[in-house]
């Protein structure tokens, strides 16, 4: 493996780990969502490294993962948008976006 994809393969793995930690420990859903996006971009970067490895002259990368990535980024954005709107509506109606069951938090 050349130097380029190795850096861009190990760092995404670490990003996935860091984001997963944030998803577990943050009590505020908005912070969980940021962590989710970090995990997501880690997975996407990993796919990017895979695409770069699959370069074949004259292409600089395998176009199939690149196309899947565009789909994946748009889907992840929609998921984030839905979650953000849920957070805001929950906040409007209860003033507390905590995820813990009522009366037991």
């Amino acid at each position: 493996m050349t130097a380029l994809p190795l850096w861009f393969a190990l760092v995404p793995a670490a990003l996935i780990g860091v984001g997963l930690y944030g998803i577990v420990v943050h009590p505020q859903p908005l912070r969980k969502l940021v962590s989710f996006n970090v995990v997501g971009s880690g997975a996407f970067l990993l796919f990017g490294a895979v695409a770069r490895r699959g370069a074949a002259v004259p292409l600089n990368g395998d176009p199939v993962p690149q196309a899947l990535l565009i789909t994946g980024i748009v889907v992840a954005f929609c998921a984030s948008a839905l979650a953000v709107m849920l957070i805001l509506q929950l906040h409007d109606r209860s003033g507390d976006t905590s995820l813990e069951p009522a009366g037991e938090a």
Binding site: I16, L20, I23, V24, V25, P29, K32, L33, F36, V39, G40, G42, A43, L46, F47, V50, R53, G54, V64, P65, L68, T71, G72, V75, A76, C78, A79, L82, A83, L86, I87, Q89, L90, R93, S94, T97, S98, L99, E100, P101, A102, E104
Partner: protein, 548 residues
């Protein structure tokens, strides 16, 4: 060839209908939904006929492009059975929801009916896509579609607590999807394709295959809510309107479950091990015991039914180790998988009926406190019968879909020498009987001064119809029903009755029951549940590596 072309149609008709129903709005939404459901059900019936009766596996190459570059849609007998079963449940839900989700006359357009019908159709399309797609990335999109359809259904009534449940569901499911996607990425990197058939031929055991399998499985289990990853399910399914609960509990969780089946049986068959399948089934067995006991301690009917779903999800994972041959070396299609799919279908029909019955009780009484159900049996005989029938169907003691499913799995357990799962399968019926009897005992108590609001007759009949459909599935089984096992039935019902009386009367003083309660409180908090998600990912990795 003609039958193959039904595969894109069975996906596109519900989605197209959802878009048109949404665009037309107002009174047209429900009409469009009905037209779509009629068309989609006809297509599902044709697929079932081609695949089940004629025994052919349908294959369709979208755009004429073949894998690995293109996308293939496939439907074997199992997928066709799921498609047909889901179509039946969707029809039942549509009839049930007719009154609840019609546009009121006072306004031009109200929110809930406008979003309910497109979401129901989208969930349907996403499920069909999950059943027919042969590409792991398309399956990822299908699972996301399912989540995007499911989350708004959870909080359709807009109360803060249901929004909270929906948010919890969304965040946990999204975490699951991203783990699944990461697994797909690694598979593409190693094998250059995401086509399930090609992967099945190319995958070799190794660190990439193990890591990918473990991450995909953990992510999918989070979306399926298998114990101990169920934190989002009880409040989400119990808080939604009855028709939405039925769709969520009967249908939505089956999508990610079916993807687990595709990954384990087809894509990663050479990487999964006997040990890892034992872990999966052990979680299933734990789900049956834990969720059934917890169900008995629930004060409200809809929560009880939601916990019953958790227990039934456990059954769906018992068939994984049973599909290994006697030497435990390879996972194979066969009786165990057939039993699993039949179990999924009988749960889909029975659970939809059960949630509808619970919803009707709530609508009639204005509450669903189990302790105050007295007099319901007399006031609502059809609904009470529906609840009883769906409960008996879930137990699988009388000839029904679940009965045949259990028989298939028991045969597989015998054939592969895994007697311990046979014990769980037989004993599980008593746990199911426990909470069904618990409810029926309360409902059958006389109470003359119960006031009952009228409920739509069509809704009652739709629920009853689905409960009966769960019994009719017995005839869909490939094996003969066999002799009726009176002894087993009596043991199950008797054991269940004892369990119900025992837990209901002195539950909190018994260590095991109290433990289930504490465990439930702990597992419904985010941090323990998400830690378990990561722990499971690790455990599967170890079990996969150890098996080789």
């Amino acid at each position: 060839m003609a039958a193959d072309a039904l595969l894109p149609a069975v996906v596109m008709v519900p989605f197209g209908g959802a878009l048109i129903a949404f665009a037309l709005g107002g009174r047209w939404t429900r009409l469009t939904a009905y037209a779509t459901i009629a068309t989609g059900t006809a297509i599902a019936a044709c697929i079932a006929r081609a695949s089940l009766a004629d025994g052919q596996t349908l294959v369709y190459h979208v755009g004429g492009w073949h894998p690995p570059l293109g996308l293939a849609l496939t439907a074997n007998a199992l997928a066709a059975a799921m498609i047909a079963g889901v179509a039946v449940v969707v029809c039942g839900i549509a009839v049930f929801a007719h009154r609840d989700f019609g546009q009121p006359h006072a306004v031009r357009e109200a929110r809930a009916p406008l979003v309910f019908w497109p979401l129901l159709l989208a969930v349907w399309g996403a499920l069909d896509l999950a059943f027919v797609s042969n590409d792991l990335f398309t399956l990822y999109v299908a699972l996301e579609l399912l989540t995007f359809g499911g989350v708004p259904l959870v909080c359709l009534d807009g109360r803060a607590e249901t929004l909270r449940a929906a948010l919890r569901y969304a965040l946990f499911a999204l975490t699951g999807s991203i783990l699944y996607l990461a697994g797909c990425v690694m598979l593409y990197g190693a094998y250059g394709t995401l086509d399930i058939t090609l992967l099945g031929a190319r995958v070799r055991p190794g660190v990439v295959a193990w890591t990918a399998t473990t991450m995909m499985t953990a992510g999918l289990l989070a979306k399926t809510a298998l114990f101990p990853l169920h934190l989002w399910l009880p409040p989400a399914h119990a808080g939604a309107p009855a028709a939405a609960s039925a769709a969520l509990s009967a249908l939505v969780i089956k999508g990610s479950w079916f993807v687990v089946v595709r990954v384990w049986y087809d894509a990663m068959a050479s990487a999964v091990t006997f040990a890892s399948a034992q872990v999966l089934a052990a979680l299933g067995a734990a789900a049956i015991v834990f969720a059934s006991v917890t169900a008995l301690r629930q004060p409200r009917l809809k929560l009880l039914v939601a916990y019953s779903t958790l227990a039934q999800i456990g059954y769906l994972f018992l068939m994984f180790p049973l599909a290994f041959d006697a030497t435990g070396s390879a996972i194979m299609h066969g009786a165990a998988l057939q039993g699993g799919v039949l179990q999924a279908l009988s749960h889909a029909t029975a659970k939809a009926a059960m949630f509808m019955a619970a919803g009707l009780v709530y609508a009639a009484l204005g509450h669903d406190r189990i302790a105050d159900l007295g007099g319901v049996a007399r006031a609502m005989p059809v609904t009470t019968a529906t609840f009883a029938l769906s409960g008996i169907a879930l137990m699988g003691v009388l000839p029904s879909g679940a009965y045949v499913a259990k028989k298939l799995m028991l045969d597989a357990a015998d054939a592969s020498g895994q007697w311990w799962w046979g014990v769980v399968l037989k004993g599980g019926a008593a746990f199911t009987a426990g909470y069904v009897i618990h409810v029926l005992y309360r409902a059958l108590r006389p109470n003359t001064n119960v006031s009952v609001a009228p409920v739509p007759r069509a809704s009652e009949l739709a629920a009853l119809g689905l409960a009966i459909a769960s019994f009719l599935l017995a005839f869909a089984g490939t094996t003969a029903i066999g002799t009726f096992d009176l002894g087993g039935t009596l043991v199950a019902v008797g054991g269940g009755a004892l369990l119900a009386i025992f837990v209901a009367s002195k539950g909190s003083r018994v260590p095991g029951v109290a433990l289930c309660g504490d465990l439930d409180r702990a597992l419904r908090r985010w941090t323990p549940a998400s830690l378990f998600l990561l722990l499971l990912a690790t455990a599967f990795g170890v079990a996969l590596k150890a098996g080789h």
